[in-house]
Structure formats: C-alpha cells, structure tokens
Symmetry: D2
Subunit: 345 residues, 4 copies
Amino acid sequence: MISAGIVGGTGYTGVELLRILANHPEVQVDCLTSRGAEGTAVAELFPSLRGQIDLTFAAPEVERLARCDVVFFATPHGVALDMAGALLDAGARVVDLSADFRLPDAALLARWYGLTPVNTELLGRAVYGLPEVNREALRTARLVANPGCYPTVIQLGFLPLLERGWIDPQRLIASAASGASGAGRGAKVDSLYCEVADNFRAYGVAGHRHLPEIETHLARATGHTVGLTFVPHLAPMNRGMHATLFAFLREAVDETELHALYAARYVDEPFVDVLPLGQHPATASVRAANTCRLSVFRPQNGETVVVLGVIDNLVKGAAGQAIQNMNLMFGLPESMGLEALAVMP
Amino acid sequence: MISAGIVGGTGYTGVELLRILANHPEVQVDCLTSRGAEGTAVAELFPSLRGQIDLTFAAPEVERLARCDVVFFATPHGVALDMAGALLDAGARVVDLSADFRLPDAALLARWYGLTPVNTELLGRAVYGLPEVNREALRTARLVANPGCYPTVIQLGFLPLLERGWIDPQRLIASAASGASGAGRGAKVDSLYCEVADNFRAYGVAGHRHLPEIETHLARATGHTVGLTFVPHLAPMNRGMHATLFAFLREAVDETELHALYAARYVDEPFVDVLPLGQHPATASVRAANTCRLSVFRPQNGETVVVLGVIDNLVKGAAGQAIQNMNLMFGLPESMGLEALAVMP
Amino acid sequence: MISAGIVGGTGYTGVELLRILANHPEVQVDCLTSRGAEGTAVAELFPSLRGQIDLTFAAPEVERLARCDVVFFATPHGVALDMAGALLDAGARVVDLSADFRLPDAALLARWYGLTPVNTELLGRAVYGLPEVNREALRTARLVANPGCYPTVIQLGFLPLLERGWIDPQRLIASAASGASGAGRGAKVDSLYCEVADNFRAYGVAGHRHLPEIETHLARATGHTVGLTFVPHLAPMNRGMHATLFAFLREAVDETELHALYAARYVDEPFVDVLPLGQHPATASVRAANTCRLSVFRPQNGETVVVLGVIDNLVKGAAGQAIQNMNLMFGLPESMGLEALAVMP
Amino acid sequence: MISAGIVGGTGYTGVELLRILANHPEVQVDCLTSRGAEGTAVAELFPSLRGQIDLTFAAPEVERLARCDVVFFATPHGVALDMAGALLDAGARVVDLSADFRLPDAALLARWYGLTPVNTELLGRAVYGLPEVNREALRTARLVANPGCYPTVIQLGFLPLLERGWIDPQRLIASAASGASGAGRGAKVDSLYCEVADNFRAYGVAGHRHLPEIETHLARATGHTVGLTFVPHLAPMNRGMHATLFAFLREAVDETELHALYAARYVDEPFVDVLPLGQHPATASVRAANTCRLSVFRPQNGETVVVLGVIDNLVKGAAGQAIQNMNLMFGLPESMGLEALAVMP
C-alpha cells in the first residue's frame, strides 16, 4: 500500500484527488494538510466525502508529510517550490499540481509567476507529467510537474500534427473554454454563481500563464519553435474543458489522412480517444473521467486544419492525470483507480 | 459472473445502469435492447461509453433476454408487465425500474397508469425494492419492483417517525424537487434546455403517480394508513432530488431525540447517512453516488417536524438502487459496484 | 422629474434599481453611494450599464443624499436605521429595501437581527410596502419598509385564504426556493458557481429572518394570529422565487371556489396574475418583470389547499416593488417604469 | 401606429419579437400566425405574455397579413421565399428573420439551404439588414433580410480591420459560442436540458450555413474576397453569443491604434459599444438588450489580432435587429422600443 499525502486539500483539485484515491486499491491517503482548515474534519468541509474519508486537516509540516511515499501538491503557486526539496531529500516522491515546476526556465518562471526558486537545480529535475509524451521518464521520476489543464488538452491536440510536420508551427491558434471549477474554490466575486451562469466570456487574452507552458513543452516534444495565440474562456459549467485548435497546413493532406494520423498516434493510449471522422466531442462525454477525446477536421478542404479536444479539467486536467503519473512512478498499471466511466448526464 | 440484460437502454436510466455495471466485478452486461435503436452501437448513442462498452442494441426478444441471469427493465410503463412473466418462467430474475409492479393493487394500477395486467398474480409476487425496509425479502426475490425516485427519498425520510408513531400519519406533506433527468430523454418541449434553465416550477399538483406508491408502501411498512399531500417540482439541474417533508408531532420530543431516532434507524444502512443536527443536505453531495442523506429539524420547537432528504434520482432513485437490489438477490455484498464517491463539484 | 438617490448600489438589488429607473420617465438617479466603491464609475463595475448610466459612486453622506426627493436603501441591515431619520428630517422620502423597518416591534428586531434602533419612533412611522395590502397608506408614506422577497410571495399567496377565514391560520407551511441572486453579491464560498450549480439545498430551517416578518404582517393584514413553518431553499438559477404553500381547510370549499376567491381578490391588481385552474406558474414566466403569478389547488379534494406563487426576487421581491411603492408615494401611475414584459427564455 | 404581423410566432424569435414590440410606442401587433398553433391564445403558449398580449394564433394567410404595414417572418427556411412576393405586391413591407433572402446568389442558396426560389429577382431586391453597413439602403427598403446571429457579431467584429485593410482577408478565423435558444424551440434530443447543461461542444465544423453569409457580406461591404474558417459551439446558457476572432496583421499597428480604429468606426452607432483597452466583453452584459460589445487585442505584440464580440442572439442577433431595421424602414428613431438595459444577473 502506497502512503499518500495531499498538501492543500481544501480546493476542488484537492477534493478530486481524495475522491479518486478513495477507491484506488493500492493507495491510502494518510496525511492531508491545509493551513486554513487545520483541525477540521474533511467530511465537514466536503459532505460528499462523509462516511468514506475519515481524515482531519493537519498543518502542512514537512516532517509529517515526509513519512508518505508520495506527496501531491494542490496548492497555490510557490508552496511546492518551497517544500518539495525537503520532501525529496527525505525520500518521498512529489507530484506537483501547481505550476511551480512546469517551466524549466527560471526566467520564464520569474516573468509569468513572479517566482524565484532558491534551488533552480530542482526545476531541471522535474519531469513534465504528460504521459503521452514522457511516459518512460515518468516511470523513474521522483518529482513530477503535473501539466495545467489547458496545456494538457491543447498539447494532445497539436502534437500529432507538429510531430509529423504538417502544419506551420509559428501560427497556432487555440480558443478554449473551461468550466468554473478551473478558477478554484476561492471566494471571489468573479466566481459567483450569478456572475458565471448564463454567461460566457474570454479572459487573459493579453497573456495567460499557460501560454509559455504550452509553447515550451510543445517545442521540447517536437523540436519546433512554436508560436501560439491562446484565448481562454469561462463557460457556465462546473467541469469540462474544450479546446478548438486552428493551424495552417503545409502539406496537401486530406481529412482521412489527418484522421489516420491521430488514430495511429494515440492507438495505444489508455486515456486518449480519437473520434470517428465528422463527430464533435462534448465535454459531458468525459465528465468525471480521465479521458481526452479528440476530433480533427479540414473544413471545405481549405488550408486550415481544426482540431477539437475535450477533457474534464479536474481529472485529466489535474487530479486524474496526477494519479496516472503516480501509477507510472510506482510501477502500477497506468489506469489503476481511473477506470470510472464518464458521468452522463 | 452474472450475465445481465437491459431492456430499454437508450434513456438516462439505461445509460446509468451501463455506467455502473461496467465496473461491477461480478456482472457482465450481455444483452442490451431497444426497439428504436436496434443495430446501433451503444457508444454511438452515448459517446461517454466509448471504448468501455462494446454492445449493440438488439431487438427486445424474450428468447435472447431469457439467457441472462438478471434482466433490468428501464422501459416506459407497460413493457415489463408484458415481458416479465416469460422471463421469470425461463429462470431469469427481473428488476423492473418502471412502475409496473410497484402498486400491488390492480385497481390502483388501472387508475393511475391505465394499465391492466393480464396476470395479476405477478403483482403479488413482486418484492418492493427498498432495501431499508424489505432487505430480507429481497434476498430471495425473483421479481423486484424498483421504487420510484420520489418514493425512495420520501419514504426514507418519513419512515423513522411513522414507525415510532410520533407523527400524525394522516397529515403528511412532501414538497420535493427533481433534476431534469427525471423527465427522461424523450424529445419534449418541456424538457428543452431553454424551458428548464433559470426556471423553477411545480407540476402534477392535482395528482402525481408517485403518490399512491408512497402511500401504499408507507402503510405496508408501518401499519398506519397514510394521508400525503405531495408537490413535485422541476429544478434546473441534471441530477439530484431534494425532499422537504413536514409532519405534525403527536409527542413532545425535542430535536435531539428526533436526531437520535434517525441515527439509530439507519446506523447499519450502507447508503443512508444522517447528518449532524443543524446541517442541511445538498443534492450535490450525493451526485452520481448511491447515497441518501437525511436531516431532521423541529423549528422553533413547534409542533411541526421538518425532514430533509437528498438522493441522486438516477442512482439511489433508479439505477443504483436496482443494482443494490440485484446484489441482494444474488447474495453479493450489498455495496458491490456502488462504492464510487459523489462527484463534487 | 423626481431626483433619486441610491445608497449601496454595488449589489444585485442596487444594479436592478438602476436598470429599471434608467427607463423611468419621471425619475432621474442623481446620487449613488457606496463606501467600498467610492470614485468608481458605475459602468466600470457593471458593464451592462455602459453608455446608459453616467454616474460615479460617491461616499454615503447624508447632506448629499438629502437633496434627493427619494432615497432607496439597498444596504446591509442597520445602515438605513442609522441614516433614515436625518434624511426624513431634511424632507427626503425613504424606501428601505433592507430589513431595518420591516418589523415594527423593536424586540423582534433585536432578536432576529441584533439591531437596536436609537429611535424606535421611526419603526412605527414606516409603512410596510406591500401595495396589495397597504396601498392607501403608501400614498402618503414618507418612510417605506420594502418587504423581503420571500415575504412578498408568501403573503400574496396566503392572503385571500386568511382574509376569508377558510384555513387554519396556526398551521401554515411554506416551502420556497430562491435563485442565487437572493444571497447577494458578496464573495462567499457558498455562493460560488460550483457550489450552487447542479445543486439544490435548504437553509435556515431552524429559523429564517423572514419568518417573523411574514407572521407579523399576515397577522396585521388579516387579524389572525399566524403560525408558520417556513423552509427556504437555494435553487441553481440567477433570478426567480417559487413558493409552495400548504394550509388546512376549515370549510368545505371546492377548487372552483378557491380559484374564484383568488381571482376576485386580485382582479384589480396590476402586478398579481391568477392563473387558470390547473396551471402551474414558472419562475421564468416573471423573469425581470414585476409580476407575481399565483395558482391554487385542492389535491384529491382533500383537506389540504396548495397555493403556488412565483416572483422575480430582484423585481417584485425587491427593486421593482420599491419603484411601485415610490410611484404610489409620488402620485404617479403605479405601473410607470414597470411595464417591461418577462424575458423568456 | 404601424400595424405589424408576425409569421411563425411560436418559436423563441417570435416570442422575443412580441416581447419587444409590446412596449414599442409606434407599433401594434395585429396579426400573429402559426400553422401548428392556430386557434391557441398566445398567452396560453407563453405565460410570460399573460395579461399583456391578447392575440390568438391565426393561419398564415396572405390576405390577412397583407393588411399589415410590416410583416416579420420568424419561420423555418423557405416560408418567406414563398410568401414575401405577394405581401410586397400588396404593399406590405417585409423583414425576414429566416435565411431566405440573406444570400443574393441563388446558387449559394441552393447549395447551402437546398432552396430554389421561384422568383430570383426578389433575392436581388432584398437589403441585408446590418444597419452598421447598410443604414441608408435600409431607410428605403421594402424587403429586408435580417442577418443571422453569428453573422451579425462576426461581421461587426471584422469590419473595421477589413475596411482599413490591416489584416489578411484570406485567413480569418472565427470561434464562436451560442446559447441554446439559437437552436430554436423544436423538440429535439440534442436541445434537451440534460444534453446541454454542464456541457460544451462544437458543431457544424465541416460547414455551417452562416459561413457563406458572412463571407458574402463581408466581401460586399469591404471589397475584399474573404476566406473564413468558422467553428460554432453550443454553450449551456439560454441567451448570448460570443465571438472570438483571429486575423493576421499586415501592418505594424499597435493595440492603441487598433482600439482607436474600432472606437472611431462605431462612435456614432447606437448599438455597438467598444470596450476600453484590456477589458473582455461578457454575454451577460448584453442579456435581453440590443447591444453588441467589442474588444480588440494584439497579444504579445505578435502578428495576430484578436477581436472579441458579444450579442444576445435573440435580440441584436434576431428580433432586436429586426425592429431596428423596421425603425429605419419607417423613418422612426432607430432606437425606439429598444432602450431596455441589459438584465444582469
């Protein structure tokens, strides 16, 4: 049995880790910390866990967490950067769901997050947790930077085309929409029901923090320098993320070839599903599941290729992918604990 | 391995049975029928099941279904009434999620549903599938009438008080709200997104079909003749059912005694959770789970007792309870396949 | 032209007052105050008002407000209690949308709101702003206590039966649901989109502050001492309030007589609409309009009468009724500025 | 007083026309037709109109409609094509909210809609009802083709850049999302609450009928041949449409110049609002109003320009714009009857 700890378990990502791990046959959550909720029973904060999870939030002390085999960080940015080193030194493995280790370049981290790591060497040791790209490295990783939600679906959508070299890597466009849980459980006016419901809006068009993450890791994975225009939107839903990707073809490939490329690229992936030609993926088809579904189109046989992708931002976009990474790190079957089907409706 | 069949698998109850049974370790769905969708792959109709369930809808023929160990009916009213006898004769067990066998009295069935059973003897053989009342009978049942969603939560809410005799059984009031999946997947204007969203309304105040079911089975379970005023409402949500129950106390019991009564009544029930005094249950706390959560209040220490109850109408209110009943019928652990925690948010 | 001021214009009630008054032909909003938003242009906070309302939030100073003909308070409880006296002395009229003047009894105010008025004489001078009961008094009122949202629809629902004496006034039951705007625009976790959407729950069952308001004013209007059990719920919608009322008949009246009673009681009311027998009102049918729609049923010809009522909690339940009251106070046509039809869908 | 008729008044566009016209000081709706609802009172179908609109659906006979000064078509495609000629001959003016007259090229109409007009001359007489482009022609028009919802917001978004020649007209990209009312009030499974809520998906990527409309009229208005990739999405909301537009700059203009271009282009437009630099428009900010709000960005000072636009699909995207056009056709103030502010929340 793997002993797991969760730092920052009061947000939606934290409760989602608890929900999934509660039925994982090889993991037991032994330690759950939160600075603000210390002493509170988790079931008091989250009645959905009543009778299933008998834990109380503790203070986030390294000593206690270091006794775990694996520690998940579901914290605001900066916390893992401070604590991960000591935990790794003590022998624990770390899966960080925040952005602290996603950018291997300290200058980017400083520019986009205002973070200055004491120990930049750690940045280099982190393995970027996109199994569809880094599976082998993840098997031996001790520190995993779990990808952001937008970066997960956008990279899975662009990868086949970039790897194959069929599109102009400098003119990528991503228009994506996220459910409100992506904004977290903080008490902000912008996240109120009455501000989100029956409403749709873009945000962060001038520059969203997921942009450098996507550009960096697409470049690493494919060898191309990548230029991306990225517009995220907030949609009135609890969960779900939809990416609509546009790229310009450099080769005269037809829709059937495009589809074959995607089908072949992901044929062995347990959590990536390429839809039949002509179908459009819906976020509801992956609700509460660790699946990414993709479609590819070449409208009007023009020069533009359109890729559609959906994930559940809290699962494949956060907690589920973190557990997939943990499974790889500990030599467990990659899908263990992640077999639940999507909840529809 | 238990071989299961599902008749009428194209509605929300049918897809929910598939979702839950897909991960049930002792059941395999071998036969799925639908008159309208014959020949269609289930994953085509429900992309949420892609890659997990490799079945095609067949015509609903008794011969084929009779080879199953258990057949679930997720059909409009009247279908199970016609087919159940032959299946039982062939040795299959039947769990009927429609209303056909819920009313043991043929006259009530005719009055409220316009149904005239050819074989009224079958009505008498059906066991009403509320495990919290009929657990022992369910263990040997061959034909189970799975309760309606409103009747499940309303009976669980009133039972302790009626059994104990603390309230006037003739003046029960139930005001309850259901998510839109309760109305089914039929193409009706009243069920359109734009008719349901940002809206709340009552329906069926003059007389809802669940009224005689509740009165009949509360009377059977408690020995009291019961008089109930029942007002159902449609709430803008996919899943979830909330019951607000009112009754008049005949005894001077305080809130602590009321709470103790509920806690004791359900202490051994795997799927009924009594909240601490003062807490209000939320439907989201049971989303996609087989749990019923209850609270009891005596406002202002007056003569009125208020009981609040929540379930997921598709799980404890339909497919989950059907599987709980199947587990009992086949001597399996009652919670098998039903361990998934609530999905929040 | 009537010069109006609004104290506390940053909440949903404040912006609703602005929305409606912007098209009122006889009113001009000259002063808008907010302690927190001083110096901010209203259109910056509420882009929905861009180009239409050219006001900047000012500090809530009595001097400035006293120059207005009428001042609306859309403030947390306690503010109007402090400021209204000075404004009245200066000659302004006051419509208070908070609870400060709704309870004429200082003891109730202290018990339910923890408020101790310096000047209890003011409590007695306030006219309770339910035009369907107090129209004549409102024409000469200088201080109006605008009713709460739940009290508005619940009183309109019970009034005909109580006035006529057909029901037991001691055993009234109200189960009601409100859209999320009723909880205000404060940044609270409980009001987040992900806590409210696809969810339904009761709150305040032990005792909601609107309970004494309803009991007090029903008693005043009808001469009966009233006993009410009141359970409010939060529904996942922006606007809308639905009341489901239960009472026990003391007379053998049939449904047609009940309907005739309601139709006659409200025949001349511009904002109360009694539906034909058998129809159920939907909150969406009054969205953004000042209308209350009512239905009355006697299910199964039993002893229980069921009344259903809907309003938009921000309009007839707050800002619209306040403007209706203002029209009465200033001798304007009662419907002026309130003619907009419901927005559907 | 202008006498108006509405053909096809049972859908969301029809009821929206009624809602707005009910308070238009110079228009009276005298005739309302529907083949399916003949003989039904409009308030029976739409309780939101009770007490305000006292009309009964009639059969759609030309004779009766021809007595009106103006006839609005809110019908499925093909109906106006059949009836408009006779109405025009009889002296009525026609505003067609369907697609019948939007494409001046009969070949396009045949290809995208499968429609073959008997009288192609009529196609040429129709004025395309985008007042921001065709205001002068609309003043004397007798037959107006009211633009589609997507075409309205997408054209308003691209127009300034195309007119000025700052972008490559061959590589336009539009990713847009619509509320569910855009799919109409037909009883289709895809439009059910449980299929739309908590869900987001694209549709029609291979080719949506609004594509040729946008390309045709952008080309007419700007003199450029236009190449557009257009991906529409369905968002879980009643109303609202959001367009996210991408184009490639051919000139080195900075964000301030871009903003100045938009501000100048629309400075005199009563229903187009250009937001301050850096703000993102929200669909809720135009709910139930005839406004289009636009923003323009140049992210990272790259070669891509991003334009965001929002409208209410039923107002500026349908009924509101139709009334704006009618006002122009009859020499009324352009904003008459359209002054209502957005409903928020």
